[in-house]
């Protein structure tokens, strides 16, 4: 921290405005690494399905370029401008979620994408971005009101509506959880006490345990495979993936095989065998297991370290942001990225039940990437506004 302070001071002395190049380098590295891994994990499937090994790579490059442009544009916009329109962001989330109903495109039994004039995107990703801006704005505007249970409840309530809609309209539970998690992180940063988060945490843990127990109790009575519910079976597959090897446990099990077979240094870039038709959508939610297989434990830990560096840079920006709004925005971005990375790796290692969460910057997916880059733009914008004189 001392280093960054002297950096800032030096920047101020020289009359330059601060720009977080560390963050940029980390993001660029993640982006390029992501492209490499997307190509490695998708080329086999792309060739089989589309006859073009770089089918997914091309689309991801376009998304990356668009994302970079978006990041720069957002970073250049003074971020206090977002404070003024922040409350509208909530409406934006709502509108995009409801756009799914007329424009939604169904895939794998769920409507998650909107196709408008040839461009497809996921409203859930836009909702995450918009909710970060909205919540930062709301909390800032509530002032001390946030410390009351009422204010706390109000913020959570507003978030819960979006989460519920995401769950209900797009049947996208993971996005709902992430949005709710972002809100919790931002509230945690903004409020003083710890007690209520411990309560929330313990309550959540008990609830989760109860759900698991109930499902297990039901399952033991009924023959396996006949267990009621889509999610119920997921829980059972989580506890014993081998028993559901050909069903719900398949993806998880294949992912574990990939991780386990990678060893310490992996099989080498591009040498994954699990991506050859065994891990479904290897370029997507399961890309981390391909990384583990090809680059081994070493590569996986290095990638995790890179994420920690990224989060650390964001923490510094949040620490030093010019105002509370900036701090909250960056905290929201931190929350978003950390939650997704942790949940993604947790799913891939079967630490939690399988749910679709992509790995930020790495996984294939255009709208997620562009939205993330916008968030990076926001963080850079906050960083840019840091004035040395404050220290």
């Amino acid at each position: 921290m001392a280093g960054s302070r002297s950096e800032l001071r030096r920047a101020a002395e020289k009359g330059f405005r601060y720009f977080d190049y560390n963050l940029i380098v980390i993001v660029l590295f993640l982006l390029i690494f992501g492209l490499v891994m997307v190509y490695s994990s998708s080329s086999y499937d792309a060739f089989l399905t589309f006859g073009n090994a770089s089918f997914y790579l091309k689309k991801q490059i376009i998304a990356t370029v668009v994302g970079l442009a978006a990041m720069i544009i957002v970073a250049l916009i003074p971020y206090n401008l977002f404070y003024r329109v922040g409350m509208l962001a909530y409406l934006v989330s709502l509108v995009f979620i409801f756009l799914i109903i007329p424009f939604g495109h169904e895939a794998n039994g769920a409507k998650r994408w909107i196709y408008i004039s040839g461009i497809s995107f996921q409203p859930a990703e836009i909702a995450k971005l918009a909710m970060i801006v909205f919540l930062a704005c709301l909390i800032r505007r509530m002032g001390d009101g946030i410390h009351t249970w009422r204010g706390f409840g109000f913020v959570l309530g507003m978030t819960a509506i979006i989460s519920a809609l995401l769950w209900g309209v797009t049947s996208n539970a993971s996005s709902a959880i992430i949005v709710f998690g972002i809100a919790l992180v931002m509230l945690f940063v903004a409020t003083r006490d710890y007690k209520r988060y411990v309560i929330v945490g313990v309550a959540g843990a008990i609830l989760a345990a109860l759900v698991v127990i109930i499902i297990l109790a039901n399952a033991s009575g009924v023959e396996s495979g006949n267990v009621g519910g889509y999610r119920g079976e997921r829980i059972l597959a989580w506890l014993d993936p081998e028993a559901y090897a050909s069903g719900k446990g398949f993806q998880t099990l294949q992912s574990l095989y990939a991780i386990g077979s990678g060893g310490f240094f992996g099989k080498g870039l591009g040498e994954s065998m699990q991506k050859l038709g065994f891990i479904p959508e290897a370029q997507n939610d399961m890309i981390f297991s391909v990384i583990c297989e090809e680059l081994g434990l070493f590569g996986a830990l290095a990638l995790m370290l890179l994420f920690i560096l990224l989060l650390w840079r964001l923490k510094i920006i949040a620490d030093n942001a010019k105002d509370l709004f900036g701090t909250l925005i960056v905290a929201g971005v931190m929350g978003h990225i950390s939650i997704q990375v942790i949940l993604n790796i947790a799913v891939v290692t079967n630490t939690i039940p399988n749910t679709g969460i992509s790995l930020p910057f790495i996984s294939y997916g255009g709208s997620a990437l562009v939205c993330l880059m916008c968030e990076m733009g926001l963080a850079l914008g906050v960083a840019k506004a840091i004035r040395a004189r404050e220290y």
Partner: protein
């Protein structure tokens, strides 16, 4: 205005900021903790399950291998005609998971399957619904190339073809025998798994069989999946020495014989077995080998072919006609009154009966039907077939599939006489100038062994002894040899030894011949005329060829050439002389004697001579065991042309369906077949006629659409016009003629008394009747034909002889 911490109240703002920083720090620590936790989790996975998962990854890679079937080699006859061949067929395989990949695949694919293979759409549909993930379902087996191509054409179709998915074809070969029954006992058949059964298929199984190929994937050094194809190696083709034309001629006449005598006395085939071998005298190559009954090689398990055959029980032994139990619901109720059967009887029959009886009794109990008694069938009928269990049916099929010519052993009878004479001549025991007095029997030790002509032939030269098939003379000749010499020659002629013909299933006969220590004088006496020891047909004809070809014993052969699937020759199997059995001069004498059998006026084989040819040979009639049952094996073994034999032919009629005693001393059943076969085969082999033709013979040739081949031979061209029938032509169908001719001949022939010449002729049969015994007697040769209960079997050796009966009791079929 940018919002600042708490609107400029610096103190409070700093406190807030510090608080927030603390919170961020706590949050960051939580994140770090989560990352560390996940890192440990990753480490644990790769430490605890790393190897197991690595193996899993390798094992689920699809280096699945596909077997590429080899093609079993073809079997050709000597002219390259196909006897057996393997043809590619295709199994239609459905991969449901591919078919269900898109909904629009389903209907076009099912429609195509229905239109090409006639498969039921709804049936496939219900299978798909039940097994959506099935990847391998055989929809149709063994469809032909045309059908497969029709399906592939549909798939190539621009519009709908791309929607036909999930169907592929698996190669398979199916063995086909284009001539169905032709040569069945030589060729044999294959079971489903390409294993040869019987005949050439079994003997040359390893030659015909190839090696399956394999297409498989494997992981190379860099763990990349690679696919490799090891092509199948097809089996070798074999060329048999069989000539398909000769074979079919032989089979035609064997079947014709069967038609003639079928259901004659018994409701059964024309004979238990009738078989023929034609062999090249100077090579040992078999030109034809056939028997009746036959079976369809393409459908060997069809039990219809069994009907009329001698029935065997579950142990493969011939049925004896003993009473058996059957269930009431299987027979007519009026056959036996069920109430009359006591439980005692049930118990007895079950005890003594074979396994099947117990089973049927159990069946009866199960079905609630009353067990009945009836006589076990001697011959297979539709009804007895219905009563058989599976094992018994299999045993009966097994006896149908066996090759009589190499598998069945029997007492050869008088066809063994040339061997005895040859042994005596070659060993110098006789000179050929001796005369023997036949009084109708010879007393050997305590036993009177009878000649077939019980009235005696008087003084006979060696040549006449063979011509008339005189047992007494032959006994004298064998005594001149002594048993050591006799057995030494018997061994040299191949009796008791396998010929090692290249066919599966040849019997071992070592225990069916005598050794010097086991042979007594009576045994030597009966052996001299072919009773008391057992042999196979192939032994007889192979040995006989050496008698008439100058003494060269050739190993008999069925296959002349082995070639690869692309036609290059691997092996030529050349004729192989194994030994010199007799000297060429003795051989010449044997030919001279055997020619008399057909040409001589008292010859027993005159009816074997085909029109226009001179042939030689020897007849045989052997009584089967037990002695006195009146059943005979009649045979003729001959060769053509008479002076320079090229082919040998041996026909055996095993127990003709002519009733008890009906076949005694009457080799006509065999000689007529020989005559028919040679009439067709000799011209085919470019052996031309040398003898004048009678008008009757000309008419016969014309009827058979055969050419008079005198013109081709160069020498006998002028003889064509000779029309006078020679005295030897004995119309087989007209015994009255025979009698008349015989009468003419009698005046010329002044021999010792021939009392049978004075017997009355029975108007019904044409045979002379002995006024003392009432027995039928051949009016020419004096041989006893018909029966009288008091009359002992003409050629039967003395039944009291224990050694002989011990040997005789040995089973006919030796494996």
């Amino acid at each position: 205005m940018a919002p600042v911490y708490n609107d400029g109240r610096v103190k409070k703002g700093n406190r807030n900021r510090n608080q927030i920083r603390t919170k961020l720090r706590v949050f960051f620590i939580i994140i770090l903790a989560a990352f560390v936790g996940l890192g440990i989790r990753l480490y644990m996975i790769s430490r605890n399950n790393g190897e197991e998962y690595a193996r899993q990854v390798l094992s689920q890679q699809e280096y699945d291998s596909v077997v590429i079937p080899y093609r079993r080699g073809d079997i050709y006859d000597r002219n390259g005609m196909i006897l057996a061949s393997s043809n590619k067929v295709y199994n239609v395989i459905l991969d449901c998971s591919v078919l269900l990949g898109k909904e629009e695949y389903l209907d076009p694919t099912l429609h195509a399957l229905h239109s090409v293979f006639g498969l039921d759409e709804s049936e496939i549909r219900s299978f798909i619904v039940a097994n959506p993930s099935s990847k391998y379902k055989i929809l149709a087996k063994r469809v032909g190339y045309e059908e497969m191509m029709a399906f592939l054409d549909l798939k190539k179709d621009e519009e709908t073809g791309s929607l036909i998915k999930g169907v592929w074809f698996e190669d398979e070969y199916v063995r086909q025998y284009p001539n169905s029954t032709l040569g069945c006992d030589i060729i044999g058949f294959t079971s489903n798994d390409n294993i040869g059964n019987f005949g050439l298929e079994q003997y040359y199984d390893s030659t015909l069989r190839g090696t399956n190929g394999r297409e498989y994937g494997y992981l190379n050094e860099d763990s990349d999946l690679e696919r490799t194809v090891i092509p199948a190696v097809d089996g070798y083709n074999i060329y048999s020495t069989i000539d398909i034309n000769i074979q079919s001629t032989v089979e035609k006449y064997l079947a014709e014989f069967n038609e003639e005598y079928k259901n004659n006395v018994n409701i059964a085939n024309g004979a238990e077995n009738v078989a023929c071998i034609i062999m090249e005298v100077d090579t040992g190559n078999v030109l034809a080998m056939a028997q009746y009954p036959v079976y369809d090689l393409n459908d060997p398990r069809n039990t219809d072919r069994l009907i009329g055959a001698r029935q065997v029980d579950v142990e493969g032994k011939k049925t004896t006609g003993k009473p058996i139990e059957i269930t009431a619901n299987l027979v007519m109720n009026d056959m036996v009154d069920p109430d009359a059967i006591s439980t005692e009887e049930n118990g007895e029959t079950t005890e003594e009966g074979a396994g099947e009886n117990t089973e049927t009794a159990e069946d009866a109990a199960a079905t609630g039907g009353e067990p009945l008694l009836m006589t076990e069938s001697l011959y297979v009928t539709e009804e007895s077939l219905r009563l058989m269990d599976d094992d018994t049916v299999y045993q009966n099929l097994n006896s149908l599939w066996k090759n009589y010519c190499i598998n069945t052993t029997y007492e050869p009878g008088s066809v063994a006489k040339p061997f005895t004479v040859a042994a005596a001549l070659d060993s110098g025991s006789i000179t050929g100038n001796e005369y023997y007095n036949c009084e109708g029997f010879l007393k050997v030790g305590d036993h009177e062994i009878k000649c077939h002509n019980v009235y005696g032939d008087g003084y006979l030269s060696v040549a006449e002894a063979v011509e008339r098939s005189c047992n007494v003379a032959l006994m004298h000749i064998s005594f001149a040899c002594g048993k050591e010499t006799f057995l030494k020659y018997q061994h040299a002629f191949g009796f008791g030894l396998k010929t090692n013909i290249d066919l599966a299933g040849e019997s071992r006969t070592a225990s069916l011949v005598y050794t010097p220590s086991s042979m007594r004088q009576t045994d030597l006496a009966t052996n001299s005329f072919g009773q008391g020891f057992n042999c196979t047909m192939i032994q007889m004809i192979t040995g006989f060829c050496s008698l008439i070809n100058g003494g060269n014993y050739y190993e008999p052969h069925m296959v002349s050439k082995i070639v690869t699937s692309d036609g290059s020759t691997i092996e030529n199997i050349e004729p192989r002389v194994l030994k010199q059995t007799i000297s060429p001069s003795v051989s010449a004498k044997i030919i001279e004697y055997c020619n008399l059998v057909v040409a001589g006026e008292y010859g027993t084989g005159k009816t074997a001579r085909p029109a226009g040819y001179r042939i030689g040979g020897k007849t045989g009639t052997a009584e089967t065991l037990p002695r006195g049952n009146g059943e005979y094996v009649v045979s003729f073994m001959g060769y053509a042309p008479a002076d320079d034999p090229e082919i040998a032919i041996y026909v055996v009629v095993d127990r003709p369906n002519v009733g008890t005693w009906g076949a005694q001393a009457d080799a006509k059943y065999a000689t007529r077949i020989v005559r028919n076969i040679l009439t067709d085969v000799l011209p085919y082999l470019h052996i031309y006629m040398t003898e004048p033709l009678s008008d009757k013979e000309k008419a016969e040739l014309e009827e058979k659409n055969l050419m008079d081949t005198h013109g081709f031979s160069g020498e006998g061209a002028e003889l064509e016009t000779v029309s006078e029938p020679s005295g030897e032509e004995t119309g087989a169908e007209q015994p009255a003629d025979t009698e008349a001719e015989g009468g003419n001949v009698e005046e010329v022939h002044e021999e010792a008394e021939q009392p049978w010449k004075d017997f009355d002729i029975d108007p019904n049969t044409g045979y002379a009747v002995d006024p003392n015994t009432g027995a039928y007697v051949d009016p020419v040769t004096g041989a006893t034909i018909g029966l009288n209960e008091n009359l002992p079997g003409g050629e039967a050796p003395v039944t009291a002889d224990q050694d002989a009966s011990a040997i005789g009791d040995a089973p006919d079929i030796i494996y």
